[in-house]
Each structure stands twice: as structure tokens, then as C-alpha cells.
């Protein structure tokens, strides 16, 4: 594995314009060998455009992308055998059987007969599809398909694996199993570049970039990002009526009676982000008390990335 301290992927000043619309606006980031790099952002933020540019499927308007030491728009053909890709949409052939799909991938990447047999065996094992080799792929449920697509994408043991929203629409248990597989690959030295809009998945990444409206607004490890981006703490309140609580608290915030950064609904809980929360605890209690809302619990907690991103998206 090539690892001389240089990043596996270097992106500089990458820009993509579609007519008058700038989908990706001068972004920079590095992905290091052997890490899971998360590329986060809401729908339409430029994630897919970026990953497609990195794979040479879309020409950048300006800027450079180097993958494994090769400039993508000049010689992506040479490094394709060393890359793996699993697209946002299901990337296997629905009417081919599990085995036929894997064989097609194997031949496309030029695996010899022995390697093919061995890798396909491993892939079946990994995706839990041993004994279902001859099932048509369309008959598999979402989670199985995703795992099969992943097994196919790494059949040729790529050095860098690109995953575009791999877990979109997959149930939580399958998502968990999927991430376990990713960790396994990384342990084997594969570099993973993954886009997602699931905030909880961001916590699983070694490092990440958060893209919004084509610009990177946060970049680093989850801890770094929390530290840098989060001015303040999070107060988690469990009120009797969370919707009403949000309403009265926001009113108080607008009338300047309550000086806090953010008031957000978090499931049935309410999160308040502010500096010096200890001092504001009493005030919050009072405001909610006046509105006849009982507080079951109120604690200062460690902010999640979701809190951080919601806070930074408001900026």
C-alpha cells in the first residue's frame, strides 16, 4: 500500500458551476490513507457533485483533485482499477443473480480465476448471502442489497473506496452492520470516502468535512469540530410539552429575556445551546414554569455533531 505520508486524496479550490448556479464553491480538503472520511451535508449541498468529480464522471469548472498521486481529469483511467465506487442509486444489475453480478465485477477488474473464486466466496460470506448465490438481485431486501453492492465494490480490493450515501433508505440495524464492515476494511488499510446526511453516522468517521451550499463550513475530526464550532454548551430539557416549550422559549429569546444561541427540538426533548448555561438554567425553569410546563429532567450534556451542525448552519 502506497503510504509515504502524502494524503490519498487532495482537493484544492474545487469548483463546479452549472450555468449560473455554483454547486461546489472552491473547496479544499485532504483524505489520509486508511481513514474513514465523512463528507456531510444536507440534500443538494454539493456532495454528489463532488464525489462524481473525484471519480472523473463530471468535469470540474476549476480546481484540482489528486487521487493516489494522479490528477483525476488527466489520468483517471490509469487509477480506476485501484478505486472502488458504490453510487447513491443501487449499482448492481437487478436482473442478474448475486453470483452473476459478482462475476461481472470480477471480470471487469480483471481478476484471475483463482482470485475470483476466493474473493467471491469472501464477498458472499461478508454480505451474508452464502446459499443465495442464484437469487436474482432484485429479490433481495434493501439491507442485503447494500451489503452485496459494498462487497462487489471492494471485490478487487481497491485502495480507495468511494461511497455515495450508501445507507440512504436502509434500516438502522442494516446501517449498523454496514458500518461494521467499513471498519473492517479500514483495518485492512482501505481508505474510505463516504457521503451521508445522517448525522449519527458522522460520529463514526475519523475525520469529516461538512458542506453546505457548496462550501465547507466545518472540517476535521468530530472532536475538533465540536470544540471549534461549538461556542457554548447544550442544555437538554425533558418537558411535559416539548412543542409548547419551544414556543415559549423562543418567544422569550425574541423578547431578549432569554439570551441563548439556539433552541431546538430534539425528539421529545428540547436542546438549548448557550454559553454560561449554569446561570441560565434557573431562568429557563422560570419561563417554563410560567407557562405551566413541568420539567421532568434538565441536564447539561456533551453536544452531538447534530447540535454542532445545526448551530453552524444558522450562522
Amino acid at each position: 500500500m502506497m503510504n509515504n505520508g502524502k494524503p490519498a486524496i487532495t482537493v484544492r479550490e474545487l469548483t463546479k458551476n452549472f450555468d449560473s448556479f455554483t454547486a461546489v464553491n472552491a473547496i479544499d480538503f485532504d483524505v489520509y490513507h486508511g481513514e474513514i472520511f465523512g463528507f456531510l451535508g444536507p440534500n443538494g449541498s454539493g456532495k454528489t457533485t463532488t464525489i462524481r468529480m473525484m471519480l472523473g464522471l463530471v468535469e470540474p469548472s476549476s480546481g484540482t483533485i489528486d487521487v493516489l498521486g494522479t490528477r483525476v481529469n488527466q489520468g483517471v483511467g490509469d487509477i480506476r482499477p485501484r478505486l472502488g465506487y458504490m453510487s447513491q442509486r443501487f449499482s448492481l444489475y437487478n436482473d442478474l443473480s448475486v453470483l452473476q453480478n459478482l462475476q461481472f465485477y470480477g471480470k471487469a477488474y480483471g481478476l484471475n480465476k483463482e482470485a475470483m473464486e476466493q474473493r467471491i466466496g469472501e464477498a458472499l460470506e461478508m454480505s451474508g448471502l452464502v446459499g443465495r448465490e442464484n437469487t436474482q438481485t432484485k429479490e433481495l431486501s434493501g439491507g442485503w442489497r447494500q451489503r452485496l453492492a459494498l462487497s462487489a465494490a471492494i471485490l478487487h480490493r481497491p485502495e480507495v473506496l468511494f461511497l455515495d450515501e450508501p445507507t440512504a433508505g436502509v434500516d438502522p440495524v442494516s446501517r449498523r452492520a454496514f458500518w461494521d464492515l467499513l471498519y473492517k476494511f479500514v483495518a485492512e488499510g482501505i481508505t474510505v470516502f463516504v457521503t451521508t446526511h445522517y448525522m449519527d453516522e458522522a460520529e463514526h468517521c475519523h475525520r469529516l468535512a461538512f458542506i453546505q451550499r457548496g462550501m465547507i463550513i466545518a472540517y476535521g475530526s468530530p472532536e475538533q469540530i465540536k470544540h471549534e464550532k461549538m461556542q457554548g454548551q447544550v442544555l437538554e430539557i425533558s418537558p411535559s410539552d416539548s412543542i409548547k416549550s419551544i414556543k415559549v422559549l423562543r418567544e422569550a429569546q425574541q423578547e431578549d429575556r432569554l439570551q441563548v444561541e439556539e433552541i431546538e427540538l430534539y425528539g421529545s426533548l428540547v436542546h438549548i445551546i448557550a454559553v454560561d448555561l449554569e446561570e441560565k438554567k434557573l431562568l429557563v425553569k422560570e419561563i417554563l414554569g410560567q407557562a405551566d410546563i413541568d420539567i421532568e429532567q434538565m441536564t447539561i450534556i456533551e453536544p452531538s455533531l447534530e447540535d454542532v451542525f445545526i448551530a453552524s448552519m444558522r450562522d
Binding site: S91, Y93, Y105, A108, G110
Partner: protein
């Protein structure tokens, strides 16, 4: 490279096997269409329903009805005695023709200077049977007319002969519609089949989302194009052989020229249509769109081939455009080799034109598809 292409070809054939109606349509759709067209056009039109209102009811009036029946063109649907019934039947398309024999028919026939007449009503909404009916009625009335003239001049009908001509039809002795229509239909069905199959090649993968995956794999655009082209050519050629066998054995369409030459030119023609299909394929985002574009192109090509109406009778501008339509030349080649037994010495302008169009389309297609895949 070869192994990767073979992997692609194998994959395409697995698609074909799993999606059974597609190859069934490719291979047998054309043959079935030909069978239908052949049957419909192979025999002259017979048994057209005829309605008669005989107001004369004489031996002479019955004789003309029998003569009409004897042509084989007509079947007597009914003898009626009012106009309403005829109108009713015509409105509902129940009859092709109606004949009204006036009450003085036999009188006028017998009189020395009488002028017998006949009223004929044709169902012009269906022009082809109507024309056929007119031809038969004209034939019968002409011979009756001749007979009257001969009789009135007091000549001997056995020794007197009027104007006659001797007819010899070349290339299609029996003037069989099937001999004309089935080779033309074969040419067109081959175009449709190949165009559609090629047009679906990339649009299908784009619609399903697998095209991107194919593009990030280590296939070069050349490999992808070859891998996609091989199944189209194989299936297209099989289709051609099947259809040719069908019209030859089922409708006695002769192969008077060189079968080898026809096969070679068919092979070349497949590549021209393949080139068109591939361009449609990369500009279409869905299979649906590709299908509609194929229909549009196929239908307009159909007009230029001269199958429906002779190109020679069209305005100059259209005739000029027809020369740029590959199917126009292809149909000329098919008819030339099958019916006329023509060789390259006669067909070279069409072959040359097809070659030039092929090179233009091929080059454009190759560049265009490659640019879209890269």
C-alpha cells in the same frame, strides 16, 4: 481487453435471457409482422361484399350480376329493393360496393339505339378495396359494352377482335402485393429492431443507475461500445436471416441475386443503424425517451423509403432528403437483389450512398458516444 469485452457481452445476453419479451420481440416480432403483412397482401382481393338493387329483374340484369360474381372479386351480400338498406349498409361499412340497375336496363340493352346504364356506389372510406371493386366493375361493363357494339354493327363476335394488348410484368410476374410489401417490410423491421435495441443499450443503464458504475470500472469507452455493439449486431443479423427465410419460404419471395452480397450488405447496414441507435441511446435519459425517439425516426424514415408512397412522386426537396436516409438505399438494395437479381453493377449508387452515410453516422456516433461516456 478482450476478457472485459466478453464480460460485457455475457452480461448483455444474461439481460436478454432474463428479460424474455425483449429478445422475443427482437427475433420474432419482425417475423410475425412479416407473416401478417404477407398473408394480408399475398392474394388478390376477393369476396368483397356487394349489394344489388335490381329494379329491372330481367334476364339481362341477372346476367350482369352473375358476371360480377364470376370475377371472384365480389360476393353478393344481398338483393335489396330500396335505397335505405344500401345507405344503412354503407354507413356501417358492411359492403364495398352497391349496384343499382334501373328498370329500363333490359329494354335499353335490347333496343337498337338504347343506352343501358348502371349506377355504382363505392365505399371510398376504404380506398384500396374500393379501387379493386372499381377495376372489376369496369372490366365487366367494358366487355358488355364491346359485345353490344359488335352486335349492333352486325359483326360476328367470333371473328371480330377489338383492341388488345399483351401484358408482361417483370420482376413480379403475378403482380403479387406480397412480393413487393414483404421485402420492404423486412427492411423496415430490421431498422426498427436494431435501432431500438441499440437505443436501449445505454439509456437502460442510465435509467437504472448502473451506467455510472460501468463508467468508473476500468472499461475504456471503446470497450464499452464494442461490448454493447456485439449483441446488437448478433441479434440483428439473426433477425435478418429469420425474416429472410420467412418471406422466402412462406411467400415465395425469390432470391434472384447473390445471397452472399445481400448478407454482406445487411451486415454493413446493421452498423449504420447501430450508429444511429447508440447516439439516441446516449442522449436519452430513460428507456421510454429512447423508445419514443426511435418511433419518431422510424416513422419518418418509413415515409422516405418509398414503401407507403413512391419517393419519385414526392416533391424535389423530399426526394433529396430521402437520399440521406439509410433505409431508402437499404430497401432499394433488398428489392434489387431479391426481385431483380441485381448485382453491384446496378446497385453501386445505393451501396456507395449507404457507405458514405454509414461513415458519416459512424464517425459522428463514435465521437459523440465517446464524449458522452468519458
Amino acid at each position: 481487453m478482450l476478457r472485459r469485452i466478453l464480460a460485457l457481452v455475457k452480461k448483455e445476453f444474461i439481460h436478454l435471457r432474463n428479460d424474455w419479451w425483449m429478445p422475443a420481440f427482437m427475433l420474432f416480432g419482425g417475423a410475425l409482422e412479416l407473416l401478417a403483412v404477407g398473408w394480408a397482401t399475398s392474394r388478390p382481393m376477393t369476396n368483397l361484399p356487394l349489394m344489388v338493387w335490381d329494379q329491372d329483374k330481367s334476364a339481362a340484369s341477372r346476367a350482369i350480376v352473375v358476371s360480377l360474381e364470376n370475377t371472384g372479386t365480389f360476393t353478393l351480400e344481398d338483393q335489396v329493393s330500396d335505397m335505405d338498406t344500401i345507405e344503412y349498409a354503407l354507413d356501417r361499412g358492411k359492403i364495398t360496393a352497391a349496384i343499382i340497375i334501373p328498370p329500363d336496363y333490359s329494354e335499353e340493352m335490347a333496343s337498337h339505339n338504347g343506352s343501358p346504364s348502371l349506377a355504382v356506389i363505392l365505399n371510398g372510406a376504404e380506398s384500396i378495396p374500393a379501387r379493386e371493386a372499381l377495376r372489376a366493375i369496369e372490366g365487366v361493363t367494358r366487355s358488355i359494352g364491346e359485345k353490344i357494339v359488335i352486335e349492333r354493327l352486325g359483326l360476328d363476335p367470333d371473328t371480330f377482335a377489338g383492341f388488345d394488348f399483351s401484358l408482361r410484368v417483370w420482376f413480379n410476374e403475378a403482380l403479387s402485393e406480397a412480393l413487393y410489401s414483404t421485402p420492404a417490410e423486412l427492411g423496415l423491421m430490421l431498422e426498427f429492431t436494431v435501432l431500438l435495441f441499440a437505443a436501449l443499450s445505454f439509456s437502460r443503464e442510465r435509467e437504472l443507475g448502473t451506467l455510472e458504475q460501468l463508467l468508473v470500472m476500468p472499461f475504456s469507452s471503446l470497450e464499452i461500445m464494442i461490448g454493447k455493439a456485439i449483441p446488437v449486431i448478433i441479434v440483428g443479423f439473426l433477425d435478418f436471416v429469420l425474416m429472410l427465410g420467412m418471406i422466402h419460404f412462406a411467400f415465395d419471395v425469390p432470391v434472384r441475386g447473390s445471397l452472399t452480397l445481400l448478407m454482406i450488405l445487411a451486415f454493413g447496414y446493421l452498423f449504420v443503424e447501430l450508429g444511429k441507435g447508440m447516439v439516441i441511446s446516449v442522449i436519452s435519459k430513460t428507456q421510454h425517451q429512447a423508445f419514443l425517439i426511435v418511433m419518431l425516426i422510424g416513422m419518418s424514415d418509413f415515409m422516405f423509403t418509398g414503401y407507403a408512397a413512391p419517393v419519385e412522386g414526392m416533391p424535389q426537396a423530399i426526394q433529396f432528403i430521402a437520399n440521406a436516409v439509410p433505409a431508402y438505399h437499404w430497401l432499394a438494395i433488398v428489392r434489387g437483389i431479391l426481385l431483380k437479381g441485381s448485382g453491384l453493377d446496378v446497385l453501386w449508387p445505393n451501396v456507395l450512398a449507404l457507405g458514405i452515410i454509414g461513415i458519416v453516422i459512424g464517425t459522428f456516433s463514435w465521437r459523440f458516444v465517446r464524449r458522452n461516456l468519458d
